[in-house]
Amino acid sequence: MKFADFVCFEATIPKLKASNRNSAIAELTSALNKAGRLGKGICEEITKAVIKREKEASTGMGKGVAVPHVKHEAVKDVVAAVGQSSAGIDFSSLDKKPVYSVILLISPADNPDRHLQAMESIFKHLQRDRFRKFLRQSQTAKEIKDLLREADENPSL
């Protein structure tokens, strides 16, 4: 799967206002909501569900990235929003270090395979030092979109 297949570029937040995990998640879900990608009136419920999942086990995978996610029947297909924080956010990450890049992923309740494919695509790129570095250097939503599209075209980026 490519980023372009599931990342909602209209919901990209190049400069997250949030300084903590819960509000970063809320910012990204509400961006998806504004972009019309979540069901009506369901935004808050999804935020809570993502936070609940995050409390069970942090999705801060180390190296400055976190991939908070949840399965929810409000979405018919996987959808993701990308957020960046230059100050860094405490996600209780595996390596205890702050998170600079957050990819929020909402997956349908009844399609585990699709969720796994989106995760594969996210981590294929996130595990590369260069990709993480470029993502962190991105200042605008357009730069992030260009980077993700470039990564789709050239997976060795």
């Binding site: 086990a57 995978m61 190296k63 991939v67 585990p112 969720h115 796994l116 995760m119 981590f123």
Partner: protein, 129 residues
Amino acid sequence: MKTHLYNNSTYACNISPVGLKVQPGEDTLEKVVCETKVNIKNEDGLHMRPAMQFVDVANRFECDITVSNNENSVDGKSIMQMSMLAATYGTKLKIRAEGADAQQAVDALRKLVEEEHFDEPTPNEQKKC
């Protein structure tokens, strides 16, 4: 269970003539290679929580652990790399361990994936609910 045990020359020294026997030491650790194939049995596949359980168990062992599907081989001790396998229900994975405790590692990981299926429901169990 298909587990192959290969011994390399260092390990084989233990059964060679006394004169050639190598004392186990830091430079001559037993090199054992074990491999097994496992099937993903929980319905949701190897998503993040099971992948973390796998990595936790893998990290209890000294040996190197590689996990492969048909396309990729990844480090079984890295959560990011394990998440790249996108191993759905029914996927076959090859687990290869290399090092003194390879056999124990492969046994523990096979148990986690196939017997305990990460403490998650298998498709049959869900239908009963």
